[in-house]
């Protein structure tokens, strides 16, 4: 068809192709929405997503604000990292804390992880999207995280009530995404859909993307409960009689609310060392998340209710 056929082919690596796909997804989303926002959870996936957003719109800054749906129970280092990142990159950071939760003092100890997560995160997210009138929100979820996510679209339509209806999801062909939505409906977009946990780590390593120090092993005060190591990050953590936090070298594979994030014992204090442990480990990433243990299909239920 063209004389160029004689030129040698350039081989793109899997990470280069994933990066190009994510950038394409973000540009489509921004071009076809009124008021986009990026959900920023301060974890490594958020860091990668933000890095990709900077690439997608360079030399312009990403044309949307960051939104952190806060629970007041995140690790202190996460708050520091969040604020520093927004300032350094010159991005608008919006923080929403469910006022009802603040008033009632919802916390994982007295109300349990299910109520805590639902009220702060699920309800909080809906409130925040409604409050600022966002019609499209980027999220860092990946298809490899959980079985029910394997079928999630890259562009996922939510009703005005923020519900996810598996029957209403649109077929996604080629790279031709249907981003249209009616007044009131919103679209969740997952640019990292096709990335795996290893891809994310490898990309963090290659691109030298800053991440929260909690991912690296360091001596931290922890208590062991039901076989899970919980870090005592502030004085709000109620201790049982006789329970004494002890300093152990630990790190976190996923980050969330500190009382709900299980630590693993580790001295891995460099990225290659963390990746080495990740590759040699025999349990999946989500196992450290307390909310997933409830029942089979629990993530699916949460998704229908509006959790990311």
């Amino acid at each position: 068809m063209s004389t160029q056929a004689t030129l040698p082919h350039r081989t793109l690596t899997h990470l280069q192709r994933l990066e190009a796909e994510s950038i394409h997804v973000m540009r489509e989303a921004v071009a076809e929405s009124e008021r986009p926002v990026m959900l920023y959870s301060v974890g490594k996936d958020s860091s990668v997503m933000l890095h990709l957003a900077r690439k997608a719109f360079h030399p312009s800054p990403p044309p949307f604000p960051l939104l952190h749906v806060d629970t007041t129970w995140k690790f202190r280092q996460m708050y520091e990292f969040r604020d520093k990142t927004a300032v350094e990159l010159g991005l608008e950071l919006l923080v929403h804390q469910n006022p009802e939760c603040l008033e009632l003092g919802i916390n994982p100890f007295t109300h349990g992880s299910a109520v805590h997560t639902d009220m702060w995160k699920t309800q909080g997210l809906k409130q925040a999207l409604d409050k600022w009138g966002f019609d499209l929100a980027f999220g860092g979820a990946r298809r490899d995280e959980e079985k029910s996510r394997a079928k999630e679209r890259i562009f996922s339509v939510r009703s005005a009530q923020h519900r996810w209806d598996p029957k209403q999801q649109r077929p996604e062909l080629w790279r031709t995404y249907n981003v249209r939505h009616s007044q009131g409906e919103n679209i969740r977009v997952f640019p990292l859909s096709n990335w795996t946990e290893l891809d994310v780590w490898q990309y963090v390593y290659l691109e030298e993307i800053p991440i929260v120090p909690l991912y690296f092993g360091a001596p931290r005060p922890v208590v062991e409960r039901d076989g899970t190591l919980i870090m005592v990050d502030d004085e709000r953590m109620p201790l049982f009689p006789g329970e004494e936090p002890e300093l152990r070298s630990v790190r976190f594979r996923t980050l969330g609310c500190y009382p709900l994030s299980g630590a693993v014992e580790s001295t891995a204090d460099t990225l290659p060392a963390v990746i080495r442990e990740m590759l040699l480990t025999t349990t999946s990433e989500r196992q450290g998340r307390v909310i997933d243990h409830d029942s089979t299909g629990s993530m699916e239920k949460k998704k229908q209710e509006g959790y990311f």
Binding site: L12, Q16, E28, P166, T176, T282
Partner: protein, 632 residues
């Protein structure tokens, strides 16, 4: 050295090796009975992607609901949503990931059942290779042909046939040979020539990663061996340069870049490019990325390009190699795959998204429908869910395109419902119709303005919509008399009358109703061009078609009049005795009885016939036309 040893001893060396991995996307076709889920579960298992906690859950699930008599049931690893697990079938497209030393793989897992053509087409659209499963005990089946046809239709050229469950036929060479011969003969008929057949047992792991000792007669690659080495990326780079513009990047006055993903060929600084459809040309001055400017970029890269000239480029345009640009046209022939519960309505305006551009488009009646089981062509008036046909498409403005066979991204499109925004269909362009290229708009000397000046009033479509028996025709007739008395040039198009002539070939199915309105709207438009006030009295039950009629004429030339009579009252009047017939079941597809009426949301005028007389209603219409400036 084994991977795990390398990781343990030299993780940086491991990372260095793995960052150069390539990627392959493939689709698996077959049903649960063929062991498809088992095969995918096996691939995940063999690449050590099944963690201990997953494995523990798998063991428990295998005991509870497994089909392997307590042995590990790999299928349970990949069966997704809870609702589907209960039904025992997968009903959507799931994407799985695994990696070997050489490649990362993305697997589109789709169910093989007949009713799910939609899902297979979706999964195949992004796949570079197809793995077709055949149960060795059952051989080439109807579903094998169906899957192969869809694979070929979606432009996948590399096919690997996994003849599975070979352990259940004692690893018989003869069984394998017979299946291979039969499949190859069929594949050639539908244009699949690059076919590799592999004897496997997903359950036992034969010829998955290691050559099986049970098939000494087989000398080809293992399944993983094939997937790791098959070459697919090259053709995209060989084609002419194509970059559909997604976003115009303007951080400041002195930078204007065009962002997009390259879907064909390669581009270098200094290359001449042509913007399609506008046809303007310029030269590439920079290829910008956050990691620094590039000298050259190739297909599959996302970049931002700046040009040496200040020319008009916006989202939906395609930057092309100047020497071999994409075509531009507004009428096409193509395959359409229907994906919605509600049948396709020929003539109804849908939105068509091709690349980054979205335009209004209508689809003709299918030239024929393809029976995906027999590949025979059948006549059809519409397409139902999961049906495939060849149709003409008519767009409201030209778009850049290449035939789908040359470039998937430039020739693949989706159809979107304008009211619900659902994706209702997808298609593949074959070629532009010559009539669109060779028929040009004739510039007319005596135009609408000239007609209006002569007649002393402006033209307009007055569109009466409402249930049968609402009183549309009576009011329209009275309006006509009054306008005539005022010296206005009018004509009245009445639903019943037009059906005796122009539309006598149409019935009352939804598809025919859409066509009925399309023709009348076009006639009304011609009469507006002639300077007339056109009174249209049609039930016109669907919003989409009334919207289409409105968009055919200029702003201020359309007055929608909703003759609002409650169903009970219209039925009570039943001037023509039609409601009675419909209720007795002697008349089908009757609006209000067994066919829906979608009332206007924002009409220019709403006439309540229960509170005003036809005379009063007619006067309100005349007043409205005066207010709109149609009458002086």
């Amino acid at each position: 050295m084994a991977a795990s040893d390398l990781i343990a001893e030299d993780v940086e060396g491991y990372l260095e090796a793995h960052q150069h991995k390539t990627m392959l996307r493939f689709i698996t076709c077959g049903s649960v009975d063929d062991g498809k889920s088992t095969l995918i579960g096996r691939l995940l298992y063999e690449s050590h992607l099944v963690f201990e906690d997953h494995l523990a859950a798998l063991e428990e699930d295998s005991r509870k609901v497994g089909t392997q008599g307590g042995e590990l049931d790999f299928a349970l690893l990949v069966d997704g949503l809870a609702a589907e697990r209960e039904q025992g079938i997968t009903i959507d497209v799931a994407y799985r990931f695994f990696a070997t030393e050489k490649r990362k793989f993305i697997v589109a897992d789709t169910p093989g059942h007949e009713q799910y053509t939609r899902n297979m087409v979706t999964g195949a659209s992004t796949a570079e290779v197809a793995v077709i499963l055949i149960d060795a005990r059952r051989g080439v089946l109807t579903q094998t042909r169906r899957h192969s046809y869809l694979v070929s239709l979606l432009g996948i050229r590399k096919v690997v046939v996994a003849v599975n469950k070979l352990d259940l036929v004692d690893y018989s060479h003869e069984v394998f040979d017979t299946i291979e011969t039969e499949y190859r003969a069929f594949a050639e008929q539908i244009g699949l020539t690059d076919v590799v057949c592999i004897p496997v047992s997903a359950l036992r792991g034969d010829n998955i990663t290691e050559p099986s000792p049970h098939t000494p007669w087989y000398h080809g690659p293992t399944l993983i061996g094939y997937l790791e080495t098959v070459q697919v990326a090259a053709p995209a780079q060989d084609g002419p340069f194509r970059l559909p513009v997604q976003w115009v990047n303007r951080p400041s006055h002195d930078f204007r870049g065009f962002s997009g993903l390259i879907v064909g060929g390669r581009v270098r600084v200094g290359d001449r490019v042509r913007v399609v459809p506008s046809g303007q040309q310029s030269t590439v001055s920079r290829i910008v990325t956050m990691d620094g400017d590039l000298d050259e970029a190739v297909a599959e890269q996302s970049v931002t390009i700046t040009l040496t000239d200040e020319i008009d480029v916006s989202r939906g345009d395609v930057l092309c190699a100047a020497a071999s640009p994409a075509g531009a046209a507004d009428q096409f022939e193509g395959h359409v795959v229907w994906m919605a519960e509600h049948e396709m309505l020929p003539g109804r305006p849908y939105l068509l998204k091709l690349g980054t551009g979205t335009v209004a488009a209508s689809v003709s009646r299918p030239k024929y429908r393809v029976d995906v089981n027999t590949l025979e062509h059948a006549s059809a008036t519409t397409l139902a869910l999961n049906e495939i046909g060849v149709c003409n498409l008519s767009l409201d403005r030209p778009v850049a395109f290449d035939p789908y066979a040359d470039n998937r991204d430039m020739g693949g499109f989706v159809l979107i419902d304008r009211l619900t925004n659902a994706t209702v269909g997808a298609g593949m362009l074959h070629f532009a119709l010559r009539r669109s290229q060779n028929i040009h708009w004739q510039a007319l000397t005596v135009d609408k303005e000239a007609h209006a000046a002569l007649k002393g009033h402006r033209p307009c479509v007055v569109w009466f919509t409402g249930l049968s028996g609402a009183g549309k025709s009576a009011i329209a007739d009275m309006v006509d008399k009054r306008l005539h008395a005022l010296g206005v040039h009018t004509t009245l198009l009445d639903g019943d009358n037009v059906r005796h002539g122009l539309n006598r070939d149409l019935g009352f199915t939804e598809a025919d109703r859409v066509e009925n309105i399309r023709r009348v709207a076009e006639v009304a438009k011609l009469m507006v061009d002639a300077g007339l006030v056109v009174l249209v009295s049609f039930i016109s039950p669907f919003r989409a078609e009334r919207l289409m009629a409105r968009t055919l004429v200029d702003e201020g030339e359309f007055c929608e009049v909703f003759v609002d009579t409650p169903l009970a009252i219209a039925e009570q009047r039943d001037v023509k005795g039609l409601y009675g017939k419909a209720r007795r079941g002697e008349l089908v597809n009757f609006t209000g009885v067994d066919s829906p009426y979608e009332p206007p949301e924002d009409p220019e005028l709403r006439l309540d016939t229960t509170t005003s007389t036809p005379e009063q209603s007619a006067q309100r219409v005349v007043d409205a036309l005066r207010q709109m400036g149609v009458l002086p």
